[in-house]
């Protein structure tokens, strides 16, 4: 296998894997804190059980996320040493702040998990909230560093030298806000849909206990609000991409030719050789409007970039379609929910509603992975957009495929184990409630 491909695959798999655990670590503490808050208010044992069993899930996901994150902080150098040599001094600041946030998260989680009988309920609840807040902060810092790769700032690149470094300007680069905002909501939407889906499946399977009903309600509150925010924040992010990374936008839309009144291309199969998209639905002027807020605006196409400076069009286009498609479905589910709530339907006992949620279990995470594919593959061939190419950052050490195989094996094993552990957690809940 080619070294560059092996390194890119290893990075993609490590990141794609870590992101799932990181997102659950961001969103789920809020679910458990919410459940604990309900318990403090109602004194209903169900909420305490819920807070405790969700916290066990958080513990497992946080631990695996933390160790895989440690691996990642080294992998940046193991795979891309030349990138880190130059980028480290510039974009390192959010990472050093992330270190603190992550540390606080670990401490607060220790207090939450083991402090049930040792501290006052309100202090305990606050520790849970701190887990969530510092988790979200960590996420924002890391995304800010990623945004810098898309939108390099805080230095001048003169004759191959990186001068006039300003780490603060680098952190607050143009892309950080829209990316971090979109990502934070994505964490809540994807985790929320997954959690709601699992509890919906349990209800459908006949475990009609209050535990699952309340769990479902809490997860829905978060996920449906987030699902509503996704298209809005996504639009902000896309407008930003249109301005800064026209090649990425062009690849997302498989937009080959620079035109005014550019159509929005939905679906289809990009054909790089003939520079066209087959079998697509086109909405005239749609892309111009979405990218620049004007139906007649000119949208830069891939023709403005040489072959070497274009991202892989098909991958980015498909990933973008998947993300937008699933995002739309999630928003429709959200609208359906609020409509039915308004009409006062008995949703929690409605089989069709539960079926919809059950089917929707993985779609948040699929959309999340697709979204990251758009961001990362869409930046190619650059590792620092417009400054350094990915191939020039590659480690000189040969044989990366072996480390790729090792990582894949380890992560596959861990994935299977975590899924199995989750089944066992749920089974133990049912046993507990059946005994009573």
């Amino acid at each position: 296998m080619e070294e560059l491909l092996a390194a890119r695959l290893q990075m993609a798999i490590s990141l794609g894997w870590h992101i799932i655990f990181a997102c659950i670590g961001m969103a789920m503490p809020f679910f458990m804190a919410f459940a604990e808050w309900k318990w403090m208010k109602t004194k209903d044992q169900v909420f305490l059980d819920l807070a405790k069993s969700w916290s066990k899930g958080v513990a497992i996901f946080f631990a695996v996320g933390a160790v895989s994150g440690t691996l990642l902080s080294f992998e940046l150098g193991l795979l891309w040493p030349k990138f880190m040599e130059h980028a480290g001094p510039i974009f390192g600041m959010p990472f050093s702040m992330e270190g603190t946030a992550f540390f606080v998260e670990a401490i607060a989680l220790g207090v939450f998990l083991y402090g049930w009988d040792r501290i006052a309920p309100i202090a305990h609840w606050i520790s849970g909230l701190i887990v969530g807040i510092s988790g979200v902060m960590s996420g924002i810092f890391v995304v800010a560093a990623n945004a810098w790769m898309n939108s390099p700032a805080g230095f001048d690149f003169v004759n191959g030298e990186y001068i006039n470094i300003d780490p603060i300007a680098a952190m607050f680069n143009e892309a950080w806000f829209t990316q971090a905002l979109h990502m934070t909501f994505a964490a809540f939407a994807s985790t929320g849909f997954a959690v709601a889906g699992v509890h919906a499946i349990m209800l459908l399977r006949g475990h009609k206990i209050k535990f699952h009903k309340e769990a479902l309600k809490i997860a829905l509150i978060f996920s449906l609000i987030a699902a509503f925010a996704m298209p809005i924040t996504g639009d902000l992010a896309a407008k930003d991409v249109a301005k800064r990374q026209p090649a990425k936008l062009a690849a997302m839309e498989a937009h080959y030719h620079t035109t005014k009144n550019a159509p929005l291309i939905i679906g289809g199969i990009p054909d790089d050789v003939n520079q066209k998209v087959d079998y697509a639905i086109e909405i005239p002027g749609g892309l111009s409007f979405l990218a620049h807020g004007d139906f007649n605006a000119e949208v830069i196409g891939l023709d403005q970039f040489s072959e070497e400076e274009r991202p892989p069009v098909a991958v980015v286009h498909f990933a973008f379609q998947i993300m937008v498609g699933l995002g739309t479905i999630m928003m429709l589910i959200s609208i359906l929910y609020f409509y039915m709530m308004w009409r006062k339907w008995d949703l929690i006992n409605n089989k069709w509603w539960l079926r919809i949620l059950a089917i929707a279990t993985p779609i948040g995470f699929i959309a999340l992975e697709a979204g990251w594919t758009v961001t990362e593959v869409g930046r190619q061939p650059w590792i620092i957009y417009g400054v350094m190419k990915t191939k020039d950052a590659l480690t000189p050490m040969p044989g990366i495929q072996y480390s790729l195989f090792t990582i894949v094996t380890v992560y596959l094993m861990l994935t299977l184990t975590v899924v199995w552990l989750m089944f066992r957690q749920i089974k133990s809940i049912h046993q507990k409630y059946n005994e009573e």
Binding site: L78, E85, G92, S96, T100, I107, G110, P398, L414
Partner: protein, 337 residues
């Protein structure tokens, strides 16, 4: 370049804390290899609330390294790619296995597998951590990038010197864990057993501490001569050794917290001895040249911002950490008496 020095000191402190706190955690896994399932519940109970926080020091250290001293980070991740990767995979496996063991809803046969993975990957992790660290001061890394695969990526860490540092670190970690766990035991029999174990580890640490010097001589490296030429590092070595009988006495008297502090001091002394030899160099190359902290440091503005970020971090982290340890570790003494 005052900021480079300040940041380096914070990095040093993070490493010492990682060695003590993370070391206790790794060591707990190593001890379990010998105690088997008898020690399992004590170790899980003692480590569970704090182990995640103990490993955060590694993240802090690595972030400082790539933000503040990127050239050293690059050497770490290219020449030492293989041991670093093995260390990391072991960290992933042991962390996951420890959590699975603790949180699995059912305690059945799968516990055996979790335990096995936790124990042996703890051992592997510390061993390769030692190997990796040794290459920084051993003078085994070539200063050029034009050499063959073995010279560039294998011999910097696969040599007698590195292996003996690896073994030494394994013993050190087991020792730290044994001392820490003394305060967590609920029976006198266990206390007696573990204190005997501590004494054996003393003997081993002296043997393998000496082995480091001998292997440096055998491999034709400069470590043993450099060590002798630094009076302060000799002093730290002597002090760490002098503390041994005091530790013995305190084990007998069951003065758990004093014991922990003294052992923390011993580790700090050993690490300080290493830092004194290194200063102001981050990497010693095989041809005798150096990469100093000034050569490796990021531009001044980065160091300044990094230092401020770290200072804010310290203000947040230390009180939180104090609270965590007070909450879960303040009643340790009660268990013994």
């Amino acid at each position: 370049m005052i900021y480079a020095e300040l940041v380096m000191i914070v990095l040093g402190i993070s490493l010492v804390l990682y060695m003590i706190l993370g070391g206790a955690d790794f060591g707990a896994g190593i001890i379990e290899i010998f105690t088997g399932d008898k020690g399992n519940s004590t170790i899980s109970k003692a480590m569970a609330p704090v182990w995640e926080a103990n490993h955060m020091w590694l993240i802090i250290a690595i972030v400082i390294l790539f933000n503040g001293f990127p050239k050293a980070y690059v050497i770490l991740s290219t020449n030492l790619h293989i041991p670093v990767l093995i260390f990391l995979i072991a960290i992933v496996l042991r962390g996951a296995a420890f959590t699975f063991r603790h949180y699995d809803a059912y305690h059945d046969d799968s516990q055996v597998i979790y335990s096995k993975i936790f124990r042996y990957s703890s051992l592997v992790a510390v061993f390769f951590l030692g190997i990796t660290i040794s290459a920084f001061f051993g003078g085994t890394i070539p200063s050029t990038s034009s050499a063959n695969f073995t010279d560039l990526y294998i011999s910097p860490w696969f040599n007698l010197f590195s292996l003996s540092v690896g073994v030494f670190l394994v013993i050190l970690a087991a020792y730290i864990a044994a001392i820490f766990l003394l305060g967590e035991l609920e029976t006198d029999g266990g206390y007696h057993l573990l204190s005997k174990f501590c004494k054996r580890l003393f003997l081993l640490s002296v043997i393998f501490g000496t082995a480091i010097f001998i292997s440096s001589y055998l491999e034709g490296l400069s470590f043993h001569t450099t060590f002798i030429s630094h009076r302060l590092s000799i002093l730290t070595g002597v002090l760490a050794t002098i503390l041994i009988p005091i530790v013995f006495k305190m084990i007998r008297q069951k003065r758990i917290w004093n014991l922990r502090i003294i052992v923390g001091l011993q580790i700090t002394l050993i690490m300080t001895g290493w830092f004194i030899i290194q200063w102001p160099n981050l990497v010693v190359f095989s041809d005798g040249s150096f990469l100093s902290i000034y050569d490796a440091a990021s531009p001044r503005i980065t160091m300044k911002v990094l230092f401020i970020a770290l200072a804010i971090g310290v203000v947040i982290i230390f009180p939180s950490l104090y609270y965590l340890f007070k909450l879960f570790k303040s009643d340790s003494n009660l268990n013994v008496n």
